[in-house]
């Protein structure tokens, strides 16, 4: 048992670091908020990684994975966080990709996996509905067989970045008479199909990140069904476990703490740098300690996965602790900037109520918006309360 890098792992780190330094577009490192980015900017690094063969490290090698060890994947995350890269979005790479290569047909693999790897095709997730949040199995969107098509009707919500999406993966009810979990199917929909309508939902930080997705008599070929009809709930749960493994965000939070320390060194409280205030420094240390615990817990989970256990219910711990830490980090950052958390800087380009020019220090500009935005993390991907239900049932056997 040890935490040291072998010479090979050190060489790998150097290789990764050099590759990022040479290839990551410099302008991408400086975005404060995702909503200021164009679609092309958001996929730029993904496309570069796709060409390099590094866009889907966790996939099996036969589908384009890198075959990296957990330690190499850890190094990969660390180095990307260090350079503040904009990583490939999870909807294709971490969500639908693993479902397709695990449960999909050969035709589906051949058709969809290359676009996910390369970053050419943007995917979105059609799970939640107005009446089906934590109780996801209560979803009402229907897919009715009509010859060699499904006719799909319903309303999805919280569809993240669907405004850019080419394809979506949707949970639809194909057997209304079965028990809630047993009548659901996992269907891929081309977002350009007639009857698909995406409407923005403005969030409380002023951003436009999620959408309502309306489906009205959408005709989808039956070959877009993944796996078996009415088995979609199994695939949905598999996907959620995969989603949770990357959700801890340890490397990014480490970088966030470095930034927080830098801010607290510049802010003045009672005539001294805020960082020398024990009450504030103590909160940062507590956060660092909790993050260190999460980091080792994630590494233990990855090591267990490599031993063949696959992402299991333990990943729920990573989701709970990772999102709590992300939220506390943004909370402390907002506390650190003091008065300059108040000026509203969101939506500069598209909102009449916004201030056109930043006031206060640069690092304060997005502090409040980021704090507000990150409240989503304990709600999405299965709320943290649902994660507790999963652990209670699957691990504690209650």
């Amino acid at each position: 048992m040890n935490l040291d890098f072998t010479p090979e792992e050190q060489a790998f780190r150097d290789e990764v670091r050099a590759f990022i330094a040479e290839n990551h577009p410099k302008e991408l490192a400086d975005f404060g908020m995702r909503e200021d980015m164009t679609r092309e900017q958001m996929v730029a690094w993904h496309k570069i990684l796709g060409k390099k063969g590094w866009s889907v490290p966790a996939w099996p090698v036969e589908y384009g994975g890198t075959g990296w060890t957990p330690t190499q994947r850890y190094i990969w995350s660390e180095e990307n966080a260090r350079a503040n890269t904009f990583m490939p979005l999870p909807f294709g790479v971490s969500m639908v990709g693993p479902v397709i290569y695990t449960f999909g047909s050969e035709e589906q693999k051949a058709r969809h996996l290359p676009g996910i790897r390369s970053g050419e095709v943007w995917w979105c997730q059609g799970y939640s509905e107005p009446g089906a949040g934590s109780d996801l199995a209560n979803l009402k969107t229907t897919a009715v067989r009509d010859g060699d098509h499904y006719i799909i009707n319903g309303q999805k919500t919280w569809t993240t970045l669907a405004q850019h999406a080419d394809w979506g993966f949707f949970l639809c009810r194909t057997d209304p008479t079965a028990k809630p979990q047993e009548g659901i199917s996992f269907i891929l929909i081309d977002m350009k199909t007639p009857g698909v309508e995406v409407k923005p939902i403005k969030l409380l930080d002023g951003s436009y990140e999620v959408n309502e997705t309306w489906l009205t008599d959408v005709r989808v070929p039956v070959e877009n069904l993944v796996g078996e009809e009415n088995k979609g709930w199994t695939y949905a749960k598999f996907l959620l476990a995969h989603e949770r493994t990357g959700i801890a965000g340890v490397a990014r939070s480490k970088r966030g703490i470095e930034k927080l320390r830098a801010i607290a060194a510049k802010e003045i409280a009672n005539g001294e740098p805020l960082i020398t205030d024990f009450d504030f420094a103590r909160k940062i240390s507590q956060l660092e300690i909790d993050l260190a615990a999460l980091e080792i817990t994630e590494l233990r989970t990855l090591a267990g996965e490599q031993a063949g256990k696959g992402p299991g219910p333990e990943s729920s711990i990573l989701k709970i602790k990772g999102t709590e830490i992300q939220q506390r980090l943004t909370e402390l950052t907002l506390e650190a900037v003091g008065h300059y958390g108040a000026p509203y800087m969101g939506g500069v380009s598209n909102d009449n109520g916004a201030n056109a020019h930043p006031v206060g220090p640069d690092y304060a500009t997005h502090a409040a918006a980021t704090y507000f935005n990150m409240r989503k993390t304990s709600i999405y991907g299965g709320s943290n309360e649902i994660q507790r239900n999963i652990i209670a049932k699957m691990i504690l056997g209650l």
Partner: protein
Amino acid sequence: MDFNFTEEQDMVRDGLSRLVREQYDWETRRKAIASPAGWRPEIWAQLAELGILGMPFSEADGGFGGGAVDAMVIMEEFGKGLVVEPFVPTVVCAGGFLKHAGTAAQKEEHIGAIVSGSAVFAFAYAEPKGRFDYADLETTAKKDGAGYVINGHKAVVIGAPWAGHLIVTARTGGARRDRGGVSVFVLAKDTPGVTTRDYVTVDGRRASEVYFENVAVGADALIGAEGEGLALIELVTDEAIAALCAEACGAMKVAHAMTVEYSRQRKQFGVPIGSFQVIQHRLVDMYTAYETAVSLTYLATLRLGADERERKRAVSAAKVGVGQSARLIGQEAVQIHGGNGVTDEYAVGHYFKRLTIFDSEFGNVDHHLKRHVALA
């Protein structure tokens, strides 16, 4: 990076687990800690036979060449059974001082005796007014010819009633709380001038107040360089903290498992209380607290050999995080057991008591949070 245990470590765990299961059952433990001796020398002899007491020493020193990870494995099993025998004072603390800074003669005299089980040590470092500062010493050791004369009062010396030898910290120079001027001594407990007041601790162990009145020791009692003992004390106590964190993890694991089982059996309103979401989520929070405590214990254990700053940060992180988990799990375990949790009869309360006292050993949560901040 590697999170696997070696085959030898798995064997040590299995052997100890069997010993605790077969010979440390709840009734036997209860009788032993209530007996006049308060511990079982026959258990100590078996630990020597199993090679447990020699595990962390190098083969050159007469041990079995194990390291901090071996100590972690051992302590976790001790924690599961609430084993009271003084492994930390004897093997981790005294053994640590001897192996890091002992002279050839000191090692020759003591390490073999520790490995064979014939020597039991206690570590007398705390003082009534020193709290968690190892340099805040009223105990003095004044140079007297070739040797020293020690005067002072050491507080809550765990395992001292069972010990034949003491490791003692004392000031040989400098002002109170100076980093310089702290020295470490090894001496027999029956050295003239040493008196003790022995007592029982709330977590089922034994301890003493130890008084030194003009205790004359030779120059050969000094471990390490005179006046430069503080860095050594910090190293050894960091090793002790990592070991205690592993013990706490073992105790937390059992306390949590007992509570989950209880919540399955105990019925109220016609159903097991474990079917209530409010109970389930609390049990999950305990589980998460346990897992993160294990992670921090790994971190501290694997960083004991790192440079001083990194070692101290990792150990303090663990003492804070494990201390917080221990508090949460201990309190919640009692709460979910309801009235039974506050009885002497139920084992869970005894795990709670051990986990409570763990916090104050070698610096509590607040103390180590301060140390972590200072090293940021």
